[in-house]
């Protein structure tokens, strides 16, 4: 008799649990889908909907950068390339090249934390699909320019450009074919 009552209990249990499982999935039919339809059916561009501290493509404000190369040393995969040379006439250090290889970058943020002047930062931009991977090498220096002096103790920190504005300019250039400033195969 014991096994028969177990048999009946099995049937009862399966009816109740299966029914409740069905109720759960049915309740999802009556709720709003969570999905947003990227990219053309969103209320705002997705870039504007990202959380404040999300890590997108890196950008550097070269008017603030002191050329200390700490960021390049921090990067575990060496995707930041900095060249600083000494100008013989003015005895100034000149920033000749500041490239970030976005194709390699893993958005770990170590370089951003290390930068002493907060010139390097994450933007919210993330849409950078390219037909040629070499064009993902972002060049932030068009022509060589002297590096910035770090601010003194009582001086206010230098003004930086709004976050994202620099990289967006570069991104816009990306879409134009064969733009010399967008890197190209090196």
């Amino acid at each position: 008799m014991g096994s028969f009552s177990e048999y009946l209990a099995n049937i009862g249990r399966s009816i109740v649990t299966l029914g409740d499982g069905l109720a759960v999935t049915f309740s999802y039919l009556l709720r709003k889908p969570f999905t947003i339809q990227y990219p053309d059916r969103t209320e705002k561009p997705v870039v504007a909907m990202l959380p404040e501290r999300s890590r997108g493509i890196l950008e550097i404000d070269i008017n603030v950068c002191t050329g200390c190369s700490i960021c390049a040393k921090q990067c575990p995969i060496d995707c930041i390339h900095i060249e600083v040379v000494k100008d013989e006439e003015t005895k100034q250090r000149v920033l000749k090249r500041f490239d970030i290889d976005v194709a390699k970058c893993m958005f770990c943020g170590l370089c951003v934390e290390a930068c002493p002047v907060s010139g390097l930062r994450h933007t919210h931009e993330f849409e950078g699909s390219m037909s040629d991977v070499h064009r993902l090498m972002l060049s932030f220096v068009d022509k060589p320019q002297p590096v910035a002096k770090p601010a003194k103790k009582d001086e206010p920190a230098p003004e930086t450009k709004p976050v994202g504005s620099i990289v967006r300019k570069l991104l816009a250039d990306w879409w134009k074919p064969a733009n010399p400033t967008s890197g190209g195969p090196r």
Partner: protein
């Protein structure tokens, strides 16, 4: 069919051979019609499956092709037709090519005796139910054949599993169907519908507690016979790649696919016929219905609506339950379904002996079972709302919603996207 043929022949004053030819032409036309209807139904069901699955998983589902994504199934079909039809080098060519046709024929031939309406049935066979159960067994042969001919271990396992499963589940399915046959005293699909009535308490579903049980037994067994989750062991994509149809591509694969979805409709249509009163309109007798085209149309709509709800339930089951193990599958069949369906059959026989049809007790039992069914439905709804409320979600009945407004057009998208960029640009950089 014959009456229609005779009617037209008399009208055209045909005789002899011409009459026979007309009859043959009509048969071919009706067969083509049934085939097209079945194809459309299974095509629409693939779309329904994907939309329901999307919604259940909190997604939207396909919504880009045509209005509301309603043409997605045509796009899918077109894609499958244009794909290359590969036959593996080691496969048994003729068998491999033949198998999908057996599946298609097995399922689509069954549509011949589906009573869409009182007059809308291609052939009301006097052995209708048995014909349906017999002809769908061709699917087993096709599935086993495809598994064998593919010369692939996964396919073979899938085919063998399918055969074992379908043969096992045929038993409870037939026993549950026999309960209804016993009550109605006929095997003809139209006869079974005519023995029921329009209102729920006239349906065989609520005839007595044992037919109520028989319905669930039949439905479970039918889902298992149709290789649908949670009984989709023959396909079992996490174990057998895709089971018996692993090696198929292009239109032959589509054959299996359409067969599966047509089968869903078929099992729902059979359930509608046997348990849900088919095309019966509440408050209208079959004699009244036979005299009016309008009522015929209403009957057709009622049948299709009932069958669609059945299809929805099958789809819904798939996205709810995990797959059974092989031993569990067999134990469900032989330890639970078979004894219970035997019990149903015996209990129905006893019921017919003890309680005269149409008596007071008979009617009280109908109403009581219907009330019980309604109560179960209410409890179910309460659970549904409980699950929505318990996570602080809100009801959203806009089932056809497809996200934000906007039409898919790469150019529109590019233009709008360009505008997005410019707007943000000007806002932040001045």
């Amino acid at each position: 069919m014959e009456t229609l043929s005779n009617y037209i022949a008399d009208y055209l004053e045909l005789s002899g051979l011409a009459r026979e030819i007309l009859y043959a032409v009509l048969i071919v036309a009706v067969a083509a019609g049934v085939f097209m209807v079945a194809l459309t139904i299974s095509g629409l069901l693939t779309l329904a499956e994907r939309r329901v699955a999307g919604r259940i998983q909190s997604r939207v589902g396909p919504n880009r092709v045509g209005p509301l994504g309603l043409l997605q199934w045509l796009a899918d079909g077109l894609k499958l037709i244009m794909k290359e039809d590969l036959v593996p080098a080691a496969a048994d060519g003729p068998l491999f090519r033949l198998a999908p046709y057996l599946v298609i024929v097995g399922v689509f031939a069954a549509f011949v005796s589906v009573p869409f309406g009182q007059l809308l049935i291609a052939a009301d066979l006097n052995v209708g139910v048995i014909y349906l159960l017999a002809i769908t067994s061709l699917v087993t042969v096709g599935v086993l054949m495809s598994g064998w001919a593919s010369n692939n271990k996964w396919s073979l396992l899938g085919g063998i599993r399918a055969a074992a499963q379908i043969v096992s589940y045929e038993v409870p399915a037939v026993l549950a169907v026999l309960s209804v046959v016993l009550l109605s005293g006929t095997l003809s699909m139209q006869g079974i519908i005519a023995a029921q009535g329009g209102w729920p308490w006239h349906w065989y579903l609520f005839h007595n507690p044992f037919t109520f049980l028989a319905f669930f037994l039949y439905f479970t067994a039918a889902v298992a016979e149709g290789n649908r989750t949670p009984f989709d062991l023959p396909e079992a994509e996490s174990e057998l790649v895709s089971g018996y149809n692993t090696e198929y591509s292009g239109m032959r694969f589509a054959g299996f696919f359409l067969g599966e979805f047509a089968n869903i409709y078929l099992m729902s249509a059979i359930a509608t016929t046997l348990f849900f009163g088919g095309w019966q309109i509440p408050g209208v007798t079959p004699e009244q219905q036979a005299t009016s085209w309008g009522l015929q149309l209403v009957g057709l709509l009622i049948f299709v609506a009932k069958a669609s709800i059945g299809c929805f339930v099958v789809i819904w089951l798939r996205w709810t339950f995990p797959r059974l193990r092989v031993d569990q599958l067999m134990s469900v069949c032989y330890r639970y379904l078979v004894p219970l369906s035997l019990l149903c059959l015996a209990a129905n026989a006893v019921y017919m002996l003890l309680i005269p049809a149409g008596s007071m007790i008979d009617r009280i039992i109908h109403y009581g079972t219907a009330a019980f069914g309604g109560l179960v439905g209410l409890i179910f709804l309460w659970r549904v709302f409980h699950h929505i409320r318990s996570v602080g979600d809100r009801l959203d009945l806009n089932v056809l919603a497809r996200g934000q407004k906007g039409r898919f057009d790469p150019r529109i998208q590019a233009r709008r996207y360009g505008k997005f960029r410019k707007k943000r640009y000007s806002k932040e950089t001045g």
